[in-house]
Symmetry: C2
Subunit: 83 residues, 2 copies
Amino acid sequence: MTQFMDVHHGMKGITDDQLKQAHKADLAIEKEEGVHFERAWADPESGTMYCLSDAPSAAAVRRVHERAGHKPDEVHPVPLSIW
Amino acid sequence: MTQFMDVHHGMKGITDDQLKQAHKADLAIEKEEGVHFERAWADPESGTMYCLSDAPSAAAVRRVHERAGHKPDEVHPVPLSIW
């Protein structure tokens, strides 16, 4: 398992409720792809959303997000991290 | 205080040690700007680094990173988040 950071653009005006719903939609199906979405952050002004996950591959992260209705613009493995 | 996610490009080949050194350089001066860098992630392959902080402003985040020698390419407030 590797950590991944994915980025979504074009989400201007996203609300706290919409972020929660999007995350919930991911959690509902993530196990089918062996993915776990840990955290998410959003900037409603620029319309940017970041999601941090543990997953077997970038493709698996993409599949969960696409099936949940919010295809990511970028998915980066982030093997290095500081807690 | 608001949370911020900042992004650095052009860091291809960054090592775990370099990420730790960069973070240490931020921590050494962050208090002077009222900033706290919480976490950081890096993708050596695409050369992308993400830093999560609590700060009074995006300008304060930029100042700490610039003074520590690694100017960010983007700084986004992320008022919405899921833990």
